[in-house]
C-alpha cells in the first residue's frame, strides 16, 4: 500500500532579495524591506515528503536514516548558517523561498533514490509557506 512520509528539518540562513536587472526603485518596489542591502535572516522549516509502497518486511516507505543522511549532507551542511546570496545555487537567481524550494527539490531529486520525492515545503516564517512538486525551473 502506498503511503506518504514527511520529515521536517530546520535551518537558519540570511538572504537579500535583489535583481541586478532591475533599477534600485524597481527593486525597492518589488521586494520592499527584503531589498535591504545588508540582508536579513529566517529560521526556515523544510518539510520533505517522499512516497512509495510500504515494504512488507520493514513496514517502511524508506529508512529515515537514509533520508536524514542525504538531507544532512546535501542540505543542512550546505545551507545552515549561510548567506544564501553567496551560494553557487543563487548566482543567477534571487533567493526567494520559491526559488529555494526549486533548488532544494532538485538537489534531493538527484541525491535521494530510496523513495519517490513527492514534494518540498518551506515555511519561511509562521505566516507563509511554499510548496514545490517538480516540473518547473529556477526563475530569475
Amino acid at each position: 500500500m502506498k503511503a506518504y512520509l514527511t520529515r521536517r528539518y530546520m535551518f537558519s540562513a540570511s538572504h537579500r532579495l535583489h535583481n541586478d536587472a532591475m533599477t534600485a526603485e524597481e527593486n525597492r518596489a518589488t521586494y520592499g524591506k527584503c531589498n535591504n542591502p545588508y540582508g536579513h535572516g529566517h529560521n526556515y522549516a523544510l518539510e520533505v515528503t517522499v512516497s512509495g509502497p510500504v515494504d512488507e518486511r520493514t513496514g517502511m516507505v524508506c529508512n529515515l536514516v537514509d533520508l536524514d543522511a542525504v538531507v544532512q549532507h546535501e542540505i543542512l551542511e550546505r545551507f545552515d548558517q549561510q548567506n544564501l546570496n553567496t551560494l553557487p545555487d543563487f548566482t543567477a537567481s534571487v533567493p526567494t523561498t520559491e526559488n529555494l524550494c526549486i533548488v532544494i527539490y532538485d538537489i534531493l531529486q538527484r541525491g535521494f533514490h530510496c523513495a519517490h520525492l513527492e514534494k518540498v515545503r518551506f515555511e519561511e516564517t509562521m505566516m507563509n509557506a511554499f510548496e514545490y512538486s517538480g516540473g518547473g525551473q529556477l526563475c530569475k
Binding site: M1, A3, L5, T6, R7, T49, R57, T58, G59, V65
Partner: protein, 136 residues
Amino acid sequence: MVYLTRKAEFSASHYYHNPEFSAEENQRIFGKCNNPNGHGHNYTLEVTVKGEVNPRSGFVVDLKQLKDILNREVLEAMDHRFLNKEVPEFFTRIPTTENLAIAIWQRLAPKLKAAQLHRVRLYETPDLFVDFYGEA
C-alpha cells in the same frame, strides 16, 4: 465537496522487529527502535473526511459522531498501549508509523457512513508524519 479534519492524540509504545531477520539485520535496519523493551511516542492523529454539505444541518458530518468513532475505534484500542503486544494488527505487522496510519484507516473507513474518509495523517513526533489515502 468540503473536507473536514478532526484531531486526536494518543500515547503508545512500540518497537520494530522482524522475526525473519537475524538479530544483526534487525539492529542494522531498525537501530534504536529495535530495543525489545519498547519506547513511546505522543501520537497526533488528523482524520480528514470529505462530503457534500447537508442542506438541512450545514454539516459534512456530525462531529460528535466522528469523535465517538475515533474514540471507540482508535483511542480505546491504542491509547496507553504497547502496540506490539496489545493491538492485534501488530501481532504480525511492525507498528511503524506507516503501518499505524494504514491500520487506523482500515478501522475507520467501514465505520464512516455520512462522509467518506479522505486522509489519515499521523504524527509520530512534530517532525515526522505519514499520510495515507487508502491507495493500494
